[in-house]
Assembly symmetry: C2
Homo-oligomer: 219 residues x 2
DNA sequence: TATATAATTTAGGTATGCCTAAATTAATTT
DNA sequence: AAATTAATTTAGGCATACCTAAATTATATA
């Protein structure tokens, strides 16, 4: 069986692969709040287990086995987040941290029961897709909010789940996945967005907008 | 913060103190499936943290702080067992193992939410008392089933939770906490018990009976 | 009381996973 | 192309928590 640390590495490699493409030792270390030397060590270990491919100075890639494990952990994490949110009423800015600990110890049996309770959901409380039991992920087509122009209408698809202060902030505006809004104005020179949510006018800073992904609503 | 291993030691010391009085290094090691030398090492560590009192060759005792932590972990464990059983339908012979992993990572917040969901219960699915938030445990007055004589009526109060084959066996007879039965016959020479449960006649071996605790029903 | 047995502790070793500092390799600048 | 800078790896160390084997201390028996 894998250690918690090894599982975290696989999960992080998967996520970084999605986000930035090539995963260097340095990027990985930074993401995990660990020194590059420590990442090198774990990468070597994962390589002997045939969970990653790695050539010196060329970055890491997951093998099929490694990817399957990464997706399994991500599934644990996101199902747990949704379960904590829906079944126990944990506020959405707290579920990430909680799930981070539980994802390594939850059994497949308990997970299956939560999945059933939730009605086999496909997205967590932040809108991130939940891989199914076979590791199949539904691809999102969302665009970053920063790509929007004045007048465009859209629906929140996903928000970054790691910063709980940000989540509380978004929650106060009702900016949950599924919420529709329209861009009233985009201030020039990388300025903030003024948007309309259910008749209320709200200003969203550019830094915040970077963490919001939306589905464009045609006409 | 304490390591999982340290928490397990404190919990085990508390349970053994209840069951056998004095807790020797050897008894503790055996209970934790660890060699005595390893127990010595951890005891020393817990002593420097002022969580246990210990004199060489004289056994271990919990300090007030140590006892409070032990009760907190036990509370986590038993609330989790009941939650898994009631909210997710995990069979009672599986909840112990599951809770054993979760008890070290569950937050006070999530625990409080489970507690509320369950209506502030006082016993887990095996009948063991759940300490309250302040570490107060309701003392049981149950007697071992092996103390019963022919003709006595009683109600199951608690059964040992560690052996899942035993629990499946008891479950097949409906021998859950709260179930009433009457002793029809006690076979001589340490023989089995024949009992009546809701009109059905069932034979319970002596070894099994040792793991069942009952409340005597007067009259 | 002396000796044998049992319990406990010490000593030394393993593996994980982190660290810092130094060495190496790659990439960028001039 | 040479030199500087940045990224990565190696080397050596620390803490946890386990192990076995040997030494010590306590207890029971003759």
């Amino acid at each position: 069986m894998l250690t918690h640390a090894a599982e975290d590495y696989l999960k992080s490699i998967y996520k970084l692969q999605e986000k930035v493409g090539k995963v260097s030792t340095g990027i990985l270390a930074e993401y995990l709040n660990v020194k590059p030397a420590s990442a090198t060590g774990m990468i070597k270990k994962l390589k002997t287990m045939k969970l990653v491919k790695h050539e010196r100075y060329q970055g890491v890639t997951l093998t099929d086995t490694g990817k399957a494990i990464a997706l399994e952990i991500i599934r644990h994490h996101r199902l747990l987040e949704l379960y904590l949110f829906k079944a126990l009423g944990v506020p959405w800015d707290g579920v990430h941290e909680e799930a981070e600990k539980l994802e390594h110890v939850i059994s497949e049996d308990v997970e299956a029961r939560m999945d059933e309770f939730l009605g086999y959901p496909t997205a967590d409380p932040h809108g991130a897709p939940i891989p199914d039991k076979n590791g199949v992920v539904i691809k999102r087509t969302s665009i970053p909010m920063t790509d929007l122009c004045s007048g465009q209408s859209c629906v929140v698809a996903e928000v970054s789940d790691t910063d709980s202060a940000l989540l509380r902030h978004l929650g106060s505006f009702n900016l949950y996945p599924g919420t529709a809004f329209r861009v009233i104005e985009v201030a020039p020179f990388e300025g903030p967005f003024t948007i309309d949510i259910a008749g209320h006018q709200v200003v969203i800073g550019r830094e915040v907008a970077k963490h919001i992904f939306v589905d464009d609503v045609k006409e």
